[in-house]
Amino acid sequence: MALTVDAEHTVPARRRGAPASHDGHRGAPAAHGGHHGPTSFWSTYVFSTDHKVIGLQYMFTGMVMALIGGFMAYAFRMQLAFPDQPVPGFGLVTPNVYNSLVTNHGAIMIFWVAMPMLIAGFGNFLIPLMIGCDDMVFPRLNRLSYQLFFVSAIVLLASFVVPGGGFGGAWTSYPPLSSSGTFNHTPWGAPLWLAAVAIEFIAFLLGGINFITTAMNARAPGMRMWDIPMVVWMIVIASILFMASAGPLIAGAIMLLLDQVAGTHFFTPAAGGDPLLWQHLFWFFGHPEVYVVLLPAMGIVAEVITVHARKKLFAYKTILYTTAGTAAFSFVVWAHHQFVAGIDPRMANLFTITTLLISIPIGEMLFCYIATLWGGSIEFKTSMLFGVAFLAEFLLGGVTGIFLGASAVDVYLHDTYFVVAHFHYTFVPIAIIAVFAGIYHWYPKMFGRLMDETLGKIHFWGTIIGFNTIFLPLFVTGAAGDHRRIYSYQHFQQLATDGLQSLRVVATVGMLIMLLAQTAFIVNFVRSLVRGAPAAANPWRANTLEWAAPSPPPHGNFAEMPTVYRGPYEYSVPGRTEDYWPQNVPA
């Protein structure tokens, strides 16, 4: 990584290439101070305001958290397959420990892996490069965002070691269980957990402000709305969606925190509170949140499949409008999580209808992606394998969502492993498969070296086989009645059958395969840093602007700030000798 500070070229470059971001300076006089600092290790890699460094910081933090979350899954899945036997490398999983493991596994994977990797990591790294400017509009705000995120991760990890242990009331944190230490036995763990989530949200709000402002105001000359690469659009729309949905959850979180530590009773029914209120506030955020993570993943996959199929993205504008419409519509489906919570059955009908409706645009987007692949000159690089796998696996997740959206079916399936399998068929493609597609695709840009394809393919197949081995059986156990959040099925006569138990063992074996496959990735990642073949500026012969910058891009990104002449997906244009046509190359 040669991220040198070069104050000399930064200033004129900014004026030429990003007039708008320059304009933004007047609004933030303090911003960009980091550009002129000394070039010590600390200012370059730790306290940098460079968007690329911050993006990678988010990404590495996310990877570490993914390992921690994965280790938790290892411990509780071993307990489910081999109940009440000490788990190698962990120890005995007691009921309380089990609850805490599952709770924090879910919370970590959503808030400390999916969000930082997809939005903050790729968003920070890609947005300025892809729109052709030298940094975010508010670089210091950006750095503050990462620092807050880092603090939130520390607070979360600290919550495991306080008296009483980590919070175990599920990632949804329903009261009254969550609202008082008397009920949940984690008087310290619960408030710390909540505080960690709240701090993290503030971090992402700061990041979101930056993303939206930068994408709107700092684009290269000539880049019009429809020339913006899809992944940038998707991250921006996801940021808007996050900004719009996070407020009510923060409101609820403050109320819950007050219940926990200040003795209020917002959610305690015995004292005039309303526990259902939390569910509404949570899911009003919670459902849009699934699109917050889905959209960047769809964006990453759009870039990967167009490059590796040498095809124009099918129906760019349709995808864009659909995305915006779906994002707005995702605010009116939340109560499908509460069909059995005692809501009015007429309400349940309404939310069934909206839920079934929202699967139409999602399906449409998948069809557009498949149409993009159709007739393309596909080359299965590792990133392309992951990209295509995303489409296939996410399809299963989306389709099973339709089952659950029908309230009559959901009354039976709610809180079973069918639901667990459903959302892992959505979240794993999003937070794992699409993220890997992105990492394999942009690694040469990030580090200036190529990753090893053979190790990449081993990693791919291990991940995909492992993943399906875990969750296909869980659809079956869920439909057979396996309730989630049970630490040992031996205590339930009907569920303690050999047939179901063998399926649980299969799932655990799948988990071991999937975890093991990640060593191929880690080895590949680290080894390629030092031994990988040096990457040219544009190893995939792609069109978007980040490939016009050197690999890795220096501080300030571009030697000469680019001007944009066309849209991002001009591949295989008839009549041209080259099968690609970079956005910054004059006709």
């Binding site: 708008a20 429809w226 407020g247 409101a251 000159s377 849209g567 001009e570 008839p574």
Partner: protein, 216 residues
Amino acid sequence: MRNRPVRPAGTSRVASVMNAANGLAVTRPRPARRPVVPSAVLAVLVLVAAEAMFFAGLTSAFLVGKAGAGPLLWPPLDQPRLPVATTAVNTLVLLASGVALAIGQRAFARGRARSARRAVTLSLGLGVAFVVVQGSEWVRLVGYGLTMTSSTFGSFFYLLVGAHALHAVGALVALGWLARSLRQGHGSRDVLGAVGAFWYFVVGLWPVLYVLVYVW
């Protein structure tokens, strides 16, 4: 193999018509762009949107709590009533502060730095007055026994009004900083717009909260 051009129909008729319309494939001279909204203002507007949703969450929680409690518990019989009249006057003070800032912003835009400075200082003073009066009312209410934990009514009261007060204090700090930089002669239109956007939000939100919490 990799250079084989995709058949032109590969993008489908619909898409190619659309792409032609978008100019995705056609090259035209590209104009340099100017931002529609300056970055500092846009950033605050995005923040304000998120804040608006935050208060939407609080107020809908408040309405649910109130609906669940029933009239006899809202406020409970043994708890003090809220100072409706004093707060009405105080509401006018806050609105006046917003108007003063708007006047200052206009003056600044027309290059009348001195009157801009005065209007911003007036806006700041009125804002501080609002917060001080609110604070003294709180002290009285606590004295009468209305606290965060005395009832759900009390919890919601302090939650909503307190959340607004924190925003007001934060915005006043920004206003004070703005007034100072105007006095030192290096305020800018964008900063004025950005601080203004946030203060108008705080000011505009208050009548809504007043009606919901005190009157209705």
